[in-house]
Amino acid sequence: MRLQYYASRDKQQRFFTDFRQSGADSMFLQQLINGIALGSTYALIALGYTMVYGIITLINFAHGEIFMAGAFVGLLLVGVFKLNVFLAMGCAMLFCMALGVVIEFVAYRPLRRSSRLSALISAIGVSIFLSSLALMIFGANAKAFPEQAFPVQQIRIGNADISTLQILIIAVSAALMVTLEFIVQKTRIGKAMRATSEDYNTAALMGINVNRVISFTFALGSALAAAGGVLVGLLFNAVSFNMGLMAGLKAFAAAVLGGIGSIPGAMLGGLVLGVTEVFGVALGYSSYRDAIAFAILVLVLLVRPTGLLGEKMQNKV
């Protein structure tokens, strides 16, 4: 199991070193593109954390596992049912929407009135359950998307190479984020979401069906995570049962970095983390790769205790 894990890490490592070999002058632009591609996947996952947190102040530790489930469903549809990547991504999003709603109903709804730590432990329980379920069904080996799933070509822009896969990742993430922003800002349910996150009880008094709003939030966040899962699976060409853990932690770090509860904050946080991580690796700190994201987080929180775009909390008596 550990060997396989390193094998998938090796692929990721190669992804980074590939780009390090290009010339020094084009390095900056090249790494920026890599960083934005990686960062947009973090942002996609971080959005789910931040939305759920904004509404019920729960750190949804099962979110990383939803991301993993999305990647597996996408892989299954592409590999076994030979579906188109986009179609597979759509189906994975639908599946994870249902998964997110079910998880909320079973594991979080009964705990809504009890202490937040109980809900947190419940979330951790769900996360252990899902990852061991994936281990049982798909085994410990990292799986790869078939070669023809998405034909990758390199396009030259100025001095930097950008692959079609990176364009796909950035485009899909941007489209999803714009859609999300539209849903939250312009639709009726989005207005209800904003009201609920402002004040849960008052929103309920104003006739908003709070339970439905929370379910909807989970569905939205899970769909974004599923899309992120398929994209990350394509990017690193590896889908494994434990991919949700680190990705989930980093995305959570991204959400907090941007200011948890704030949707633009999660996008910004994801991009910042992705770009710094890629630059850190490019500068030769590849063995400290996982620490870079967290070090940035700690440093930012020391200067701005509520994250980059977080609202300043008022201490009320």
Binding site: Y53, T57, I59, V106, A107, P110, L111, S114, S115, L117, S118, A119, L120, I121, S122, I124, G125, V126, S127, I128, F129, L130, S131, S132, L133, L135, M136, L245, L249, F252, A253, V256, I260, S287, Y288, R289, D290, A291, F294, A295, L297, V298, L301, L302, P305, T306, G307, M313, N315, V317
Partner: protein, 303 residues
Amino acid sequence: MLEGLINSIDPYILQILVNIGIAVILALGLNVITGMTGQLALGHAAFMSIGAFSGALLSLKTGVPFSINLLLSGTVTAAAAAVIGWPILRLTGDYLAICTLAFAEIVKVCLLNLEITNKALGLSVPPPRSPLPMPLTVLICVCLAIVASAFIANSRFGRALTAIRDDEIAAESMGINCARYKVQSFAISAFMAGVGGSLYAHFLGYINPSDFGFHKSVDMLCMVVLGGLGSIPGALLGAALLSAAPEFLRFMAQYRMLVYGALLVSLMVFRPNGLLGGVDSAAMLLRKLGLRRRCALPPREGS
């Protein structure tokens, strides 16, 4: 005689008991900062690993007696916690939680890259230099940890911590120096984690930085929350249950972790405050023994 007593216990059972003992020390440690002071810490495995590695290095390089080794590794860990705690304990709630989590990941990655900790290969730890057998040492440490926790909970210091947990602003306005108390409780908590880590290292004989990942921190947190946050018997029960659970569930082979996850969810759904949360166990014990009269309402404190 003691040797004979310990040898008479089945080695498998003994191993589980020692594991439980170490878990109890760790859980009681986390209980100080999360249960009593109410500061959610998601990175306690980092302190365990600092304690484990300093204990292992002390054994390898200096060969001090085991009791001194435990004390020193606890102190090193507490010092590390005080240094890191001073800036980050200003953060509140979930920002603190994620900061401790981030700190734990950074410590793990650093230990994986340091020359002195043998990088990713981990360290082999020599057996402890102590006349006492390992299980007995663990038992003594457990007793000391319980006594210390009970002492903290019922002291002026412990009441200050509870005040901070219940309402930080009110505590501050009553003249409690929140920042200082938080750092102190963080250091005490880390001290216990460090001792537990050193015991763990010497009991297992081999440590690897990857063993002290997020899952370890989560395990500790589950013990404390499952037993009942802030309750010492709760921490004992939670630690015993959760470290024995994988052994009891062994017959299910590959379904083990699946059941474990489902168990966590259902326990939380049915007992949201933990198994012993909100139970005054001392009063209950006295009542059962007939030493205190039954009453409809729990007696008010101080009256």
